[in-house]
């Protein structure tokens, strides 16, 4: 039984699967935000899945993808990567801006799975994954640093790469590449 069916079997009964896509062999599952920790526990502890290794955790800002002028183009592209029918949420009026992607790995079978959580702009809080995997510690801090997505229950949620009172979240798409002059602020205000 291939991975997709197994994942569906595992998560499907509990209504955890929002969407499932596949791109060049990489399976990704979108799950509801509130149940992300349960999903992870389930994926980790179900014997025939056994995703026991958190490879990485990252954030994506979909601002440019969601721009209205790109919308028709985006539809076709989404369709190219996977089955179009399984993308019900995207057709809504305003798709959530951020995504948090968890890259899981099963060491026994060498299978990888992407788990996606969509984060709305007005509710930027996701449950932390640190109780499940300690490896989520710094990546979550980095996602907070770079996108401003907060992780509820994280033991030490402060900025990781930028300095503590940096005013913006630089990996957001609306942040200019060359910055907003924060370093000047740092030099003169200290």
């Amino acid at each position: 039984m291939d991975l997709k069916n197994r994942v569906e079997q595992c998560l499907g009964p509990k209504n955890f699967v929002v969407a499932m896509t596949e791109c060049q062999g990489d399976l990704s599952v979108e799950v509801p935000k509130r149940s992300v920790v349960d999903v992870m526990r389930l994926l980790r502890n179900t014997p025939d899945l056994g995703f026991n290794f958190l490879s990485d955790l990252l954030g994506v800002d979909n601002l440019d993808l969601n721009k209205p002028k790109k919308k028709p183009k985006k539809k076709t592209e989404e369709g190219e990567g996977a089955e179009t029918e399984e993308e019900p949420k995207d057709k809504g009026p305003s798709p959530p801006r951020y995504e948090v992607v968890y890259l899981l790995l099963c060491l026994e079978r060498n299978e990888r799975l992407q788990v996606k959580v969509r984060v709305e702009e007005n509710d930027m809080e996701v449950d932390t994954l640190t109780p499940v995997w300690k490896a989520a510690d710094w990546p979550e801090r980095e996602v907070f640093d770079m996108f401003g997505i907060r992780f509820k229950g994280h033991p030490n949620l402060k900025r990781l790469l930028m300095w503590d009172d940096f005013p913006a979240h630089p990996l957001r798409k609306d942040y200019p590449l060359e910055g907003q002059g924060e370093e000047r602020h740092l030099i003169y205000d200290d």
Partner: protein
């Protein structure tokens, strides 16, 4: 969190420090003695592993080394650059600026093609010496030479204008350090029957539910690549 307990199991020779220490000292003595003898060799290059750099320039530099830029001329001494701007476009550091000029009557012995760079500037302070410009250049005009001594006193000196680039070429030519033309790596040959393949592709795409637009978009660049090869 409890750390795993590690058992130390030492052999006797490990347990009494001295035996292994003496072995190590024997080894270092071997190196010392070898190099001590090498010290007395004549010339600046004494110890085999070290080059006494400013005096000793015998170290061979790779012919494909990516050093300071130069603009090449062809056999007749004409500038080969056609100011197409490919190098400026591909440059990841955006360090190349080119101004295009049109060749006038009577300048055929100066410029090889109808267009030439009226201004060609390479900002060494930005350049990361990735060699993409060499790769992109259709005429093999811009080349990263063997000169690795890039230290300058002022910022202005670090901006190589066309004159300096041509001077670099002249210098390299005099020293016989011109870079051989870059070998294009062989590419996987095009599929034998493109029409049929295209159909098959389209069929496959249709089966997968891919819209035709994407298929076309995908096809176009490939054609471009083909035409490029023909040019070469």
């Amino acid at each position: 969190m409890a750390k795993p307990v590690v058992k130390k199991e030492y052999t006797l020779s490990e347990r009494i420090y001295l035996w292994e220490i003496l072995k190590g000292m024997k080894l270092t003595w071997g190196h010392f003695w070898f190099n001590f003898k090498a010290c007395w060799r004549p010339g600046p290059h004494t110890i085999p592993t070290c080059w006494q750099y400013p005096e000793d320039r015998t170290r061979e530099i790779s012919p494909v080394f990516r050093g300071e830029h130069m603009l090449q001329k062809d056999d007749k001494g004409r500038e080969t650059c056609i100011a197409c701007g490919m190098c400026a476009k591909i440059c990841p550091a955006k360090c190349i600026t080119i101004k295009k000029g049109k060749r006038k009557e009577g300048e055929e012995d100066k410029y090889a093609a109808k267009t030439y760079p009226a201004a060609f500037e390479v900002d060494l302070l930005r350049c990361i010496f990735c060699g993409f410009c060499e790769d992109a250049c259709p005429k093999n005009a811009i080349v990263l030479g063997q000169n690795f001594e890039l230290a300058r006193y002022t910022k202005e000196e670090c901006i190589l204008d066309k004159r300096k680039l041509l001077m670099n070429y002249r210098k390299a030519k005099e020293e016989g350090k011109l870079k051989p033309p870059r070998k294009r790596v062989p590419v996987v040959p095009a599929p034998p029957k493109p029409e049929k393949d295209e159909k098959a592709d389209e069929g496959a795409e249709a089966k997968k539910g891919k819209p035709a637009v994407a298929g076309k978009a995908k096809k176009k660049p490939a054609e471009k690549a083909e035409s490029n090869e023909k040019e070469e």
